[in-house]
Amino acid sequence: MQGSSLLSLAIWVPIVAGFAVLTTGSDRHAGVARIMALTGAILGLLVTLPLYTGFDPNVRGFQFVQLKPWIEVFNVNYHLGIDGISLLLILLNSFTTVLVVIAGWQVIQERVAQYMAAFLFLSGFMNGVFAALDGLLFYVFFEATLIPMFVIIGMWGGPKRVYAALKFFLYTLLGSLLALIALIYLYNVSGGSFSLLDWYQVPLPLHAQILIFLALFAAFAVKVPMWPVHTWLPDAHVEAPTGGSVVLAAIMLKLGGYGFLRLSLPIAPDASQHLAGFVIALSLVAVVYIGLVALVQSDMKKLIAYSSISHMGFVTLGIFIFNAHGIEGAVIQMVSHGFISGAMFLCVGVLYDRLHSRQIADYGGVVNRMPVFATLFMLFAMANSGLPGTSGFVGEFLVVLGAVKVNFWYAFAAATTLVFGAAYTLWMYKRVIFGAVANEHVAHLRDINLREFLVLGLLAIAVLWMGIYPAPFAEVLHASVDDLINHVAQSKIPSP
């Protein structure tokens, strides 16, 4: 029983810590709020570690299962459990929360307690999404994440923050409410059950599967975000505070990819196969077209935002080619993108905190003043362009490998990102970091302090570790991904 409450701890420790931080009240006790938040975040990370050490990679199905009745009227259960896919994402989430709390240590000076609490709530809710095995529980956590994120963007964001926050909220709400209808439909056809495991087994005719798939697609495609419903993301990223951008890119986007893996594919396998071409086409548009869009950005945050969309295109591509390389690559790409995009946004945040500009044109020759920062930024830029030896390479390589088996031209189109990705990232890096000191402001830059070094250093270790020795990440995935692929291969259309 001890093992089975671990997931609950992973969810509720950050949330309770969030409430505790809120009680510190006004900014007079900001220092206390920061320390409490950091303690909460670290505790949140520590309780997830036994999940990894206690996880048995050979077991098929879900581990650390916890099942309690919750809303009996609707037969909803508090049903938690994880497989390899969710395990990695929970770890990534808890790890990122610690970094975000540290990253906001000095930058946030107003309403510190609320800022920290919002991130802790967010962390708990997202762990809930990754751990939920009950459709309604999944949805509750999925939607609940909107509230703290809305507040984070709107309160600590840039000049157009209100517009960005509303756009973010309404865009994602519409998608998820359509998904809610699909969930209720599934509840009705499965004879009154919200359990995902029951939904995996319930036979569905193709037309019903397609409708369910499309409704879920509305929710998850907006979250990923896929072209053409991606337009909320650049706005949200540009206006959000650094911490918000990091969590948004590193974790929240993964809710979409995770949703495809956990719900869309196993519940509507035939529809997934049927519509795979459509999804792959959208993914390739994202990879190629959005990659080109990123090339012309003059705002660093916007550039990274578009690069995120392009990289997430890889994830959806990998998922919908339905082979082990593709799906494993997609999950690894999700985790690696979590590290890299988080690091990239933090790097931009470091510059922004000093110069209060995100425009590439305002920089130049930063390396002369900030050599340590330039080195770390270099590593992340390389990882973002998918250099072998960094985590960015592993996922993209696996996805391309998987795509070749299906269709050479998919792989060819996807591989162009290695060119475009390198082009927009390194070109930005060159303009910002290299060259002569561009102006007076740059000349007065100070290099990163210990706190910033700690955050970026940890991420650098993660990026290199995953790039050089990805086995610990990959091995927990095999059984889960095999399971998923077998499941998708079986038709759920009832035989007449």
């Binding site: 009240g25 009227v73 609940a144 507040v151 709107g154 926050a165 509303l166 309404l170 209808i181 439909y185």
Partner: protein, 482 residues
């Protein structure tokens, strides 16, 4: 039928009637500075009413007064909730009305008479009793809206309310007379039986049904009978708007159950009123949500939001089965809970000589008081229907009953307009959290308001995390009463 009828099923109503009379007389002897005595007596009467309802609660329906009056589980639950809500209304209103010279005996007497009317409606098993309760409630509401005699807007609102309300009552009564003509009875259980047997004059019955539904639509304030809602909310003093907007909706729900669910609930007939309900519900969602966006006055905005919420209640009733009615009941209770919070917050921000009734008045509330801003945030997200607030489960239950009844298209419309509705609720969150305060007067609410408001906010969250008890209560009470 027995000749000696038990009196106990009507104990709460009888007690309340007696208390109002006592309070009316006692108030004559109370000086203005001791008016708080009347307030205490009123709260006491309501608390006693809650106790009586609780103590004589019954699982099986019990009929009395020759079958005109019924006490069943649903009526007990609704009455408990009505009395409790009126107590909260009184507590929220006390500082507000005291500052505006409305702290008078009439206010309390009218409030209690309206409550009595609602309780009679809730327990009616006869169309005339239903009408009697409705009229008692409506007449009290008209006068309570006009209580601020020297305010032109309040008088205008009362006038509008009265004229339209009288028309609607007339329609309802006309519909009832048609039904009497078609069936020869006014007793609800007998009506249901006769209609199920099919020995009725069908065209006359349908004709009567149309008038009944129109009267019902007015009482709930759904499109196209919604014109009075924004004007009355805006014109009435804040405390009265708080009352008018919340508790009578519970009685409106009882009206749906007694009329549509029980009297006219036979399958061949429900098809007829379901068509009308679909149109009214969808129009309410569209017009309520879209019009609310352009409002700058908080009371008007909440009025249009009420219209859209009532549309959702109708959607629940649409399914016409236990599932649907319990969803509607849950929705109404949740609506009242959140609405009390929203209007209560408006009263809390008001002070002597200042009405916080514009959206702008919520600017920067987070910096003035993070706690109240957080409560309001929960209330607003509950109105949007975002988990983990209780509003989500209300929407979920209604959508579930709609899908079970096969109204997929209607469910999609409801969902799309919920997103439209999200915009104006979020605007309040935006004003509270993202903007700087313009009004920096300190907020110093009375201790009881402080506690109640915190409980109200906590209820929105706690019922959101643990919705099971409330949902189960609604389902069982509907099952036991239908």
């Amino acid at each position: 039928m027995e000749y000696i009828q038990p009196l106990w099923p009507a104990f709460p109503e009888l007690f309340l009637l007696l208390s109002v009379c006592v309070i009316l007389i006692a108030d004559l002897f109370v000086r203005d500075e001791n008016r708080v005595v009347t307030y205490g007596l009123t709260q006491g009467a309501l608390a006693a009413c809650i106790f009586l309802t609780w103590a004589w609660a019954t699982r099986e329906p019990v009929y009395t007064f020759s079958g005109m009056f019924v006490d069943d589980l649903m009526s007990d639950v609704l009455k408990l909730f009505v009395c409790l809500s009126v107590m909260v209304v009184l507590a929220y209103s006390r500082p507000y009305i005291a500052a505006r010279g409305l702290f008078r005996g009439e206010f309390f007497a009218l409030l209690l008479f309206a409550t009595l009317g609602m309780m009679v409606m809730i327990s009616a098993n006869h169309l005339l009793v239903l009408y009697l309760g409705l009229e008692l409630m409506m007449l009290s509401l008209y006068s309570i809206v006009a209580l601020q005699r020297d305010s032109a807007t309040a008088t205008e609102a009362a006038m509008k309310y009265f004229v339209l309300g009288a028309l609607a009552s007339g329609m309802l009564l006309y519909g009832m007379s048609m039904i009497y003509g078609a069936t020869g009875t006014l007793e609800i259980t007998e009506l249901a039986q006769l209609i199920a047997e099919g020995t009725v004059n069908w065209p006359v019955l349908i004709f009567g049904l149309v008038f009944i539904v129109a009267g019902l639509g007015f009482e709930l304030g759904v499109v196209p009978f919604h014109m009075w809602v924004p004007d009355v909310y805006q014109g009435a003093p804040g405390a009265v708007a708080l009352f008018v907007s919340s508790v009578p909706k519970v009685a409106g729900f009882a009206l749906i159950i007694r009329l549509l669910g029980q009297a006219l609930g036979a399958e061949q007939l429900s098809v007829e009123w379901q068509q009308m309900l679909v149109v009214m519900a969808v129009l309410s969602l569209v017009i309520g949500n879209v019009t609310a966006i352009v409002q700058t006055n908080l009371k008007r905005m909440l009025a249009y939001s009420t219209i859209s919420h009532m549309g959702f209640v109708l959607l629940g009733a649409l399914a016409g089965d236990e599932n649907g009615y319990s969803a509607a009941m849950f929705y109404v209770i949740v609506y009242v809970l959140t609405n009390l919070g929203a209007f209560g917050m408006m009263l809390l921000l008001s002070r002597s000589g200042f009405e916080a009734e514009n959206l702008e008045d919520f600017k920067g509330l987070n910096q003035r008081s993070p706690w109240y801003a957080f409560i309001m945030l929960l209330i607003m997200f509950s109105m949007v229907g975002i988990p983990p607030t209780v509003g989500f489960y209300a929407k979920l239950a209604v959508l579930q009953s709609l899908l079970t009844a096969g109204y997929l298209g209607v469910a999609v419309v409801a969902v799309v307009f919920s997103v439209v509705g999200a915009f104006y609720y979020l605007r309040i969150v935006k004003l509270m959290y993202f903007d700087a305060p313009e009004d920096t007067a300190p907020l110093a609410p009375a201790a009881d308001v402080k506690v109640l408001m915190s409980l109200n906010g906590a209820a929105v969250l706690i019922f959101g995390i643990m919705p099971q008890p409330l949902m189960a209560l609604c389902l069982y009470s509907i099952q036991a009463s239908l």
